[in-house]
Every structure is written in structure tokens, then in C-alpha cells.
Amino acid sequence: MKRPENLAFRLGTGLFGLVLVLLVAAIGVELFRQSTLSIQKFGFSFWRTEVWDPVAGEFGAFPFIWGTLYSSILALLIAAPISLGIAVFISELTPNRLKPVLVFLTELLAAIPSIVYGLWGIFVLVPAVRALETSLPQSLRASPFFSGPPIGLGMLAAALILAVMVIPFTSSVAREVLKAVPVTQREGAYALGATRFEAISAALYYARTGIVGAIMLGFGRALGETMAVTMVIGNSARASWSLLAPQHTMAAVLANEFSEADTTLYLNALIEIGLVLFVMTLVINSLSRLLIWSMARPMQAAAPAVVPAAESAA
């Protein structure tokens, strides 16, 4: 039976849903519209040009793209194994009563505002990193990864702080994914005489698609992280392999220079960087959700819902 009131309800609430959809579309369109000048002038060379000189009107985004990717990949190299360890520990090895506490503590890492991480980064982490860098043996300092003066501000500090900020996201998704692996999987392994490591690695292998998705989700987070990175990376638009060198990221250059942009071309170039960042996170996030979804969905349907209440909240 169709009632007009019901149609009105559907259209009414659907309208707000439409607002959400249009908002996402509007972000893409607006960023593109506002950066036309830069897109027309520089075309694809924008991505490859290494010179960023606002005074001379030369704009190349390469140092920022480099810095964003380099810092995010370094952060994930640190964060991915730790996050997986946390996910395994909480979902497989912790007694049920301790679980909510650990979950809460790791979620707290995600709740601390970026600006607070940044403040801590400037006054605590950067001096510590500087001390570490100055104590590096001379033989290491000769390699391209550790060249340049040890000033503390730079790629290493940024990667470390990003890693801390990414861990809660990756570990909580990895935990969800592990939860979607049927219990019978592990029980089967144990029945065959497997050790904990063997049973859990079977579960991890079973969940591999979702785990990759969880790591990519962390990558998406790292790409867009702004304040903390801006405050510790040193903000120098020069791409380098060195972990000690001050560098720059796409998000950081926006935070730093946007309100100073005095010409339309300068502003357009910055907005184009925003557009590139938007598209990159969009692709990475969609891909990661697809992986997580393909992993968690069919299994949730198949597995009986006997998850204890406390766990479903976590």
C-alpha cells in the first residue's frame, strides 16, 4: 500500500541525503573551477616542476607531492606492523575484560587533536629527534638518507608523528577485519595442532584483503594530515631522500601559504594542490573501503551473530 505521507517522508529525508552527495561533488567542482588559471598555464608540468617560487610566479608541485608521499610511506612503514600487532593482540590474545580498556586507549590516540600533537612535536619530539640525529655515527651520515645538518625539524620527525596518528585508524579497521574471520578458521587450525602464531597467521592470511584495505585507509589519513606535520616538517620546498632534511607536504603548503597568496595565479596554484590532494585521498579511500567491504561483507552474512555485546561496541 502506497501512502502519499510515506512518499513525502522518503523524499524529505532523501533530500538531506542529496545534500550530502552534492556537497562531495561541489568540493571537486569548486576546487577545479578555482584552479583553472594554474591548470591552463602549467598543465601536466605542474606535477613535475621542482621550482616553487611565488615571487617569480613559478609554481611546481613536485616537492609537495614528494613530501606528502615520502612522509606517508615512511609513517606507514612504522605504523603498519605496529597496528597489526595491536589488532592481533586485542582481538586474539587479550582476555575479554581487558579488551575495552585497550580499545579505549588506542582510540584516545585518534581523539587527541592534531594541533596538540603538533605542539608536542615542536617542543618535545623535535628536540629528541635532534639529539638522535646528532648522535648518528659518521658512517651513516655519509649516506643520502642521513645527509644534511641535524636540525630536528624535518622528514623524520614528521614521519614519526604521522605514524602515531595513523596507528589508531589502521589498527581499529584491522581489528574489525579480523573479527570477520570465522572462528572455525582458528579452531580448525588449533585442532590440527597449530601454535598460536600458526593459527593467527592463518587468520591473517584469510583476512589479507581487508588488512591491505586497513593499511591503505591509514595511508589516506596520512596524506591529508595537516597541522602536526606542518609544525614539525620544516616547511622547505625541496624534495630530498634525506630523513634529516626539512621538507614540505601538500597539506602543509596550503596551511602555510594560503592566506599569504597575493596573486590570483599563486592562489590558483595552491588550490590546484588542494585538488590533487582531494583526488589522491578520494582514490585511496575508495579503494581501501572496497577492499575492507569485500572482505567483511560476505563473511558477516555467513557467520552467525554470536558476537558478545561488549565486543560489538568496540
Binding site: 517522508f9 600487532g85 595491536i86 586485542i90 596507528i167 600458526e198 609544525m231
Partner: protein
Amino acid sequence: MTWGTRRRKFVSSLFVGSCAASVLLALVPLAFVLFFVVSQGVQSLNVAFFTHMPAPPGESGGGMANAIAGSLILVGIGALFAVPVGIFSGIYMSEYAGTRFAALVRFAADTLNGVPSIVIGVFVYGIAVLPFKQFSAIAGGLALGIMMIPIIARTTEELLLLVPGTMREGALALGATHARAVFTVVVPSALPGIITGLVLALARIAGETAPLLFTSLNNRFFSTTLTKPMASLTVQVYTYAQSPYQDWHRQAWAGALVLVFIVLTCSLLARFATRKLETLSSN
């Protein structure tokens, strides 16, 4: 025990040990951040911080009264935009969960949630600052609101889906329209959870800096004019942290402590509220 078994057991305990170690590795920075924020913040947090205006550079004393008021106003404006859109689109996603449009809305919400906050700032600059040639509190609030929408929408959806279908069906069987069933039966029973989600979203958004940098900008003075730049706690902390003055650094730590306190209490409250909810629903 054969050598092979012993090796397998050793590898296994090594694995368990490294998992435990990774939990510790994550908790160490948490403890460090909290320790420094509390120990540094407490030293400079006093009544003046909440009641006084910022002191001129180099002079000691002063507070962040204008920034605290500004943050409250900005988050309020954001909530004004975000709560209706978030709640109603959440209702749509849960009530028409199987439909293709609901899937599209869900995709949009997840996408929006993943958009870097600085990019939202750039977007709002384009639509709300550039056309009027004026940084404004409204623009800042709009940016915060856009960030809140997906959080509220997804929380609402998830909580409504937890309400047993029989309750909705009961209302419909009594002849209620769909809207009536949703607004008088389904939503009220999920309301405590939805409100918890709202509080959590507000707390998270209050800690955002990047979307405010070039929308509401900053303001050295106390202002409640929505069409003018407005100070906020987060941007103020950022400005002070970058400054060369010792006294401003102390103020920045105090600001950070206030921010962490807000987020921490809200998370704890939410934690207890959801636990209560679960015991209710499981009985």
C-alpha cells in the same frame, strides 16, 4: 619434545611477545603526549586564561577569553548546519538501507569523512570567503559543519539500525505512517545514542585547526560579529606555538590542555553512555 616443536613454540611466543610490544609502543607516545600536555598546561592554566584577553607580545599574563568564546560560536554554527543534514540523511540511510540511493549517500558520507580537513578549508574559502572578499565566522562554522555531517550521519544510521525491526513493524501495524513510526518509536529509542554521537562529533570538531586557518582566520579582539574574522582556541594555539615568546608558549600549552580535557571527558562520557545502552538493549 622434538626440536621442531620447540622451534615452533619459540616462534609462537616471539610472535605473542611482539604483539604485546606493539601495544606498548603505541601507548608510550600517548602517555608522553598526555604527560606533557598536563604537566606543562597545569603550570599556566589559571582563571585569567578563561577570563582575560590575550596580552600584547612580550608582556606576560593575559588569557584566551576571546578564542574560547570564538571556538564555542564556531562549533555552534557548524552544528546548526550539520545536525539537520546529518540526522535526516542518517534516517534515510537506515530506513531505506537496501536502496541504491542510500548506498550512494553512504558512499558520499564516507568520502566526505576521508577528505582532508585542509581541503575542506580550501573549498569553503572558494564558496564563502572569496565571493565576499571577507574572512568570517560563518565561513569557519560552515567548514566545521561540513566535517561534522558525515560523522553524525553515519552514527545516526548505525544506531537506528540497532533498533529492533519489530518495534517499527509494531507501529506500522497499528496504522502509523512511516514518518510517525520513525519519529515517535524508532528515533526516540535510539536517541541517547544519537545524542552521545553528537557530543562526540562536537568534541572532535572543536579540536580542528586546519579548516579554520583561512575561513574564520583569527582575531586579536573579542568579537561576536559573524561576518567578521573570529578567534578560535585551536588557531590561537597554533599562532602561539609558532611565536618566539616564552609566555605565549605557556599559553599554547594551557590551550592544548583545555582541548585535550574537552575531548577526553566527552570520550569518557560517551563510553559510559554506550555501555549503559548496551546493557539496556541486551536485556
